[in-house]
């Protein structure tokens, strides 16, 4: 159980800034996902929290205590690596026992042959055995305790790595893309298991991934990183529905959000593809970008029209790719009803509700909008 606070963390490698001042607070017991495209500095940030990489400036506090001068093992965090990083020469049992042996046995007791003869060690080994077996039971790997990592499947190795992290009862768990080496089916399964594990342990989880589906399904909060900066943090629903930045909107959600070119008129109204939307905003006149999620596009009716250039029928849902003549633009719309799909090459009308629209300025920042209310309701305000 721990609360982790990062203040103004900066890190550069060979003169290139990899982290450009990260301020973030991870609450006790949270499952927080750090997401972002490859190379944005997620792993680096995680390694700084773990103490494996020193930051150039800024502080890390765990439970209010500065840990910058403290060795990784003394921070009492556990980390699960993408490659699992199990000791290849040790059995599953010994792999899980390593952190306990390092902590509970003295240097003499750890000596290969001599140590085994010490009576104190024998008693401690009994406790360690009990603890390891308890963990193995919880993770369903008890039958594998004698095997070497090379004789385990990817999913089993993953569990052993989690077991090695759990056994020391750390303040927080750090995961660096732990599922990315698994096949798609197992990944979905392990996703559920990790979420379940979090609920059971009630420990703080910091989970790095570039798979937004993992982030959306497991976390209590998502922090989106881009180019060394943390640009937004919030619950999965907030991140999905209220992105602060067009990069967040584009990164989260699959298929990607549709972005249409728009114009903010002098009277604060907004035009998209020559059609006025029923909303207004306070921003300066000029270009803007209009984002609409695929599932919010209504195919069949609306002021716009496009040609069906591609259809993806997934059985439960379908995605229609629409090309918009004259604009050189492609949109993706999600259809929930796969029984009535438009024909390839046909021209279809489409539209979207005003509240489905997110507007971003040319720099990518979100612009607040006001939905235009029907005249009747607005009148009293004028009077």
């Amino acid at each position: 159980m721990a609360q982790i606070e990062l203040s103004a963390i900066r890190k550069s490698f060979d003169g290139t800034d990899v982290l450009k001042g990260i301020d973030f607070r991870i609450e006790d017991g949270e499952f927080i996902s750090l997401v972002g495209p490859s190379g944005c500095g997620k792993s680096t940030l995680l390694r700084i929290i773990a103490g494996l990489e020193p930051q150039n400036s800024g502080q890390v506090h765990i439970d209010g205590r500065p840990v910058d001068a403290i060795r990784p093992s003394a921070r009492n965090l556990a980390m699960v690596f993408q490659s699992y990083a199990l000791y290849p020469h040790l059995s599953t049992f010994d792999n899980i026992a390593v952190p306990l042996r390092m902590r509970r046995l003295s240097a003499i007791e750890r000596l290969p042959l001599l140590g085994k003869l010490l009576p104190a060690r024998r008693a401690k080994e009994r406790h360690i055995r009990a603890d390891v077996e308890g963990i193995a039971e919880q993770l369903d790997i008890a039958p594998l305790l004698r095997r070497k990592p090379g004789q385990l499947s990817g999913g089993q190795r993953q569990r052993v790595a989690v077991g090695r992290a759990m056994v020391r009862e750390p303040l927080a768990f750090l995961f660096d893309e732990p599922l990315s080496n698994l096949d798609a089916k197992l990944r979905v399964h392990m996703r559920a298991e990790l979420a379940e594990l979090h609920r059971r342990l009630k420990a703080t989880f910091v989970y790095v991934t570039h798979d937004q589906a993992e982030a959306m399904t497991m976390s209590s909060r998502i922090a989106v990183m881009m180019g060394g900066e943390l640009i937004q943090a919030g619950t999965p629903a907030e991140i999905y529905n209220d992105p602060d930045d067009i990069r967040v909107a584009e990164f989260i959600g699959s298929p990607k959000i549709n972005v249409l070119p728009g114009r903010i008129r002098k009277d604060a109204g907004i035009d998209v593809l020559g059609t006025a939307l029923k909303l207004s905003c306070h921003a300066a006149t000029g270009e803007c970008r209009v984002g609409v999620r695929p599932e919010r596009i209504d195919v069949g009716a609306g002021p716009f029209s496009g040609t069906v250039v591609h259809l993806e029928n997934l059985g439960a849902e379908a995605f229609v790719h629409l090309a918009i003549e004259g604009a050189g633009l492609r949109l993706i719309a999600r259809l929930a009803d796969v029984r009535h799909l438009p024909a390839m090459g046909s021209s279809v009308a489409f539209g979207f509700a005003s509240d489905a629209v997110r507007i971003f300025d040319p720099a990518g920042k979100r612009i607040e909008i006001r939905l235009e209310q029907p005249e009747r309701i607005r009148e009293p305000a004028h009077v």
Binding site: L52, P72, A85, R164
Partner: protein, 278 residues
């Protein structure tokens, strides 16, 4: 038929050449075994024959062991080569770990120096090392045979290359688990690098078991002689012209390596392919 022919012919040619080469290489060994098995009269007879008419290996061996303390020399060989190898590993592994996995200023320069060290033949530094041992009063001792070889730049280089292939995550996992940096070297890197250590061990043991140059320079006392030195002295002093016992002694001296090779043939070949040398 026209194009089926050249291939077997080439294959035959290849085999003939290889067999000829192998025979050429093996000839001295076979001659050694043959001579060791012949009585004195047959060795000096004018006709050449490989198989002795009268088998005298046992007598020659007995004479060799009687004239020189061969067991003592073999023991010297074992003590020296094993000490050299153990000390080399104790120096090379931490050094290689630092060069492969730790980040510090001057690391690349240090590594360049290691590479540079590989280029220097031991004969070039023989005189200064000899003088140092002389000043330290260590000449004519086991220390003189062992100490100059404890730092093997080749070993450091080989282990560093191997450690580079060990994933960084494994080292980081060990740090998270609370293993110290030296602990990582012995508990994590060494077990991962057993094939490389074996390969290096083979090179080191073969080179120092067979080394003639250095023991010849630093030794005086007879009881410290290493096997190659012993064979050479055997010819000069003990045996005179009795080649039978001399060859028998030579056989005894090379036997440990040959037997070790037969037992560890797989490892040996793995090691050599691993290092890609020779």
């Amino acid at each position: 038929m026209s194009y089926a022919h050249p291939i077997p012919f080439r294959a035959i040619l290849r085999h003939v050449l290889l067999i000829a080469g192998a025979a050429l290489m093996l000839a001295p060994f076979i001659w050694m075994i043959s001579t060791a098995s012949k009585p004195q009269t047959e060795i000096f007879s004018s006709e050449l024959h490989l198989i002795p008419h009268q088998f005298a290996l046992a007598e020659n061996l007995r004479e060799a062991f009687a004239k020189a303390n061969l067991l003592r020399f073999l023991l010297n060989g074992v003590i020296v080569t094993i000490s050299i190898f153990v000390l080399q590993v104790m120096v090379a592994l931490p050094a290689a770990y630092a060069l492969a996995k730790l980040r510090f200023h001057g690391r690349e320069t240090l590594f360049a120096l290691v590479l540079f060290g590989i280029l220097i033949p031991p004969q070039a530094t023989a005189i200064p090392v000899f003088l140092m041992l002389h000043k330290a009063g260590l000449l004519d001792s086991y220390a003189a045979l062992v100490l100059p070889f404890t730092i093997s730049v080749f070993g450091i280089f080989l282990m560093r290359q191997f450690f580079k292939t060990v994933p960084d995550d494994l080292v980081d996992a060990a740090r998270m688990d609370g293993i110290s940096e030296f602990g990582i070297v012995w508990r994590v890197m060494l077990p991962a690098a057993i094939p490389a250590v074996t390969a290096f061990g083979i090179f080191s043991v073969v080179a120092h078991w067979n080394d003639y140059f250095w023991p010849l320079i630093v030794l005086n006392s007879e009881q410290l002689r290493t096997p190659p030195l012993a064979v050479a002295h055997f010819r000069n002093n003990e045996a005179g012209t009795s080649y039978g016992p001399l060859m028998a002694a030579a056989m005894v001296i090379i036997a440990p390596l040959v037997i070790a090779f037969l037992f560890a043939q797989r490892r040996f070949i793995e090691g050599i392919t691993l290092t890609g040398i020779k």
